[in-house]
């Protein structure tokens, strides 16, 4: 696809044309292109077009569904996914309205139970499990995650700290420690990939620290799953988390 400059240069070659009418038209085209700002982005236009498309192609075509959803939601899933613009589960797993209560944060992390520090995540878990009674919790990690990369590289790289990002991603410290112990000899990119997956496992373990999750697991009304979306190779992995007690000794 030609750039704007290439297009203008290509048109200029035709200016030697002897047809005055054609030359006039080409000059007009060149002027128009030169005034065009291809980087101009109208956010309002983008929003309205998106909403109109949804209304015409989805909402108006399925009135029974949307009428029912207006009364309530019965999602089967609570999903934790990264805020990354490339990994929305509504795209990669085609979740439709009503199917998935969805939390999105940096690096799709679930911290351990802490009412003071992490009330946002806790509120989502409490609402999804206790009120909506979801049956599945799915934590989805992904490739080339900026949050995981920050976790793996800071503060060792001596970069300036981020006030909020660093405080958040350090939830994943146990995963970082584990990865560095097992794969410390690998290049950073590979270590990050291992950490992206290890962090999902860590989040699943942290979910167990929430009382309503423990109860759901004990009553077999809840299952926990981990996913990993690799958008470099177009792959998806799914794991089921099965917490169990292994009896060690009794006296």
């Amino acid at each position: 696809m030609a750039s704007l400059e290439e297009a203008i240069e290509g048109l200029k070659k035709f200016l030697s044309n002897k047809d005055d009418v054609a030359v006039a038209q080409i000059e007009k085209l060149i002027t128009g292109l030169q005034e065009t700002d291809l980087n101009e982005f109208d956010p309002v236009k983008r929003i309205i077009e998106g909403f109109q498309h949804f209304k015409i192609n989805k909402f108006d075509k399925h009135p029974e569904l949307y009428e029912k959803l207006a009364e309530g939601q019965w999602p089967k899933f609570l999903v934790f996914a990264c805020s990354d613009s490339r990994v929305c589960p509504s795209h990669i797993l085609d979740f439709q309205p009503g199917e998935a209560f969805m939390v999105r944060n940096i690096a799709n992390m679930v911290p351990a139970f802490d009412k003071l520090k992490y009330s946002g995540v806790g509120a989502a878990i409490e609402y999804a499990v206790s009120v909506l009674e979801v049956q599945n919790i799915l934590v989805i990690g992904h490739s080339r995650c900026g949050g995981i990369k920050r976790l793996m590289t800071h503060p060792e790289d001596n970069s300036a700290p981020f006030d909020f990002i660093d405080e958040w991603v350090k939830i994943g410290l146990p995963a970082k420690v584990k990865v560095q112990a097992e794969f410390g000899d690998l290049p950073l990119e590979d270590q990050c990939k291992h950490c992206e997956k290890e962090s999902v496992k860590l989040s699943l373990c942290n979910l167990e620290t929430y009382p309503y999750v423990q109860m759901g697991l004990a009553n077999k009304k809840l299952r926990l799953m981990g996913g990993y979306y690799d958008f470099v190779h177009g792959k998806f992995e799914l794991l089921e988390f099965e917490p169990c007690f292994r009896h060690l000794f009794s006296t």
């Binding site: 982005f41 929003i47 909403f51 613009s85 981020f162 004990a218 169990c244």
Partner: protein, 328 residues
């Protein structure tokens, strides 16, 4: 039932006492080596009485399968039923022919279900736009940061059609933005990344109708119920509920909640300005703050933009807005 005390991942694995041991079973790895099934699935839904029926209409002829997942609420438990139907073109399943499956079969079907969805995304979006996805794999440059509710009915990718790469998205209960002075949280970590690293040009906070989180906020008494996470979180929107109660006390509770849903969006926009690096960019015109409201009862969308005039914004002042639109 004994409650496990909060623990860390490291403690789980280093402890020598009787402690939950976790195991992971990898069910499937989906990638280019797997044979892609020759099926296309289109989702359509219908409601019959209490039951929500999700049908996958088959639109190809070769090796087709029709799956239906139904949810039936019995008491407080939602049971899943799934059935595999013989091949047929654009066949909608009659609910009377649904069979009940055991828990284990249901589990496997769920995984297959997710697998099919991913493969469908891979075939119809990823591979058909390979160049675009390869570019995205190198880096993202979204123009928007969206803050939306976690409610299953309001995903901005669906209602506003945001495609991969377009919108950095935070979703939490009641689409709240805590103020700067509240200290670190998941929402402001995402703000810091989106504004300072990705340098998004627009932040859009989207509220919605019949929000359970806002309803919980409006239902709260003065004291925070310390036993509830939900209340500990939604208290972030306290000023919005106070403003609502004083401005809309003559309205019924449902209407007050609707008022608060929009008031809370304005409140969140004001909270965004408490972050110095956000206010600086807004003042320079590098960043625009927008509010939105999605009403899924009538299918309407309202949108407004913060009209930033630094000298006019006090702590309790009304939000100055411009470019208010209403689409229906």
């Amino acid at each position: 039932m004994a409650t496990l005390s909060p623990t860390s991942f490291t403690k789980n694995f280093n402890s020598s006492v009787d402690f939950p041991i976790t195991s992971f079973q990898t069910f499937a790895i989906f990638g280019p080596k797997l044979k892609t099934e020759q099926t296309h699935f289109r989702l359509s839904t219908s409601f019959k009485g209490n039951r929500r029926v999700v049908d996958f209409e088959n639109t190809t002829t070769v090796q087709t399968s029709l799956f239906t997942l139904t949810g039936v609420r019995t008491g407080s438990r939602l049971e899943l039923k799934a059935m595999k139907e013989s091949p047929g073109l654009t066949q909608k399943l009659d609910k009377n022919r649904l069979d009940r499956l055991t828990e284990s079969e249901n589990g496997c079907d769920l995984f297959q279900h997710l697998k099919h969805r991913f493969l469908r995304f891979k075939k119809h979006k990823f591979e058909e736009n390979l160049g675009h996805f390869q570019n995205l794999a190198e880096g993202q440059a979204p123009k928007f940061m969206i803050i939306a509710c976690a409610d299953s009915r309001v995903c901005p990718s669906v209602i506003l059609g945001f495609q991969p790469g377009e919108a950095f998205m935070v979703r939490n209960v009641a689409n709240l933005v805590p103020p700067f002075e509240g200290g670190p949280s998941e929402t402001n970590a995402a703000l810091e990344f989106a504004v300072n690293s990705l340098k998004v040009e627009n932040i859009l906070v989207i509220g919605h109708s019949r929000c359970g989180g806002i309803r919980a906020l409006m239902s709260m008494q003065d004291e925070v119920d310390s036993s509830s996470f939900i209340r500990s979180w939604v208290i972030v929107g306290k000023n919005a509920s106070l403003n609502t109660k004083s401005a809309a006390s003559h309205l019924g509770f449902d209407q007050q909640c609707k008022h608060c849903e929009k008031e809370s969006v304005d409140h969140s926009l004001l909270n965004l300005l408490t972050y110095p690096w956000i206010e600086q960019k807004v003042a320079k015109g590098e960043l625009s703050l927008h509010g939105g409201y999605y009403d899924f009862v009538d299918c309407t969308f309202e949108k407004w933009t913060l009209d930033y005039k630094g000298s006019n914004l006090g702590k309790n002042s009304r939000l100055p807005v411009k470019n208010r639109f209403y689409w229906c």
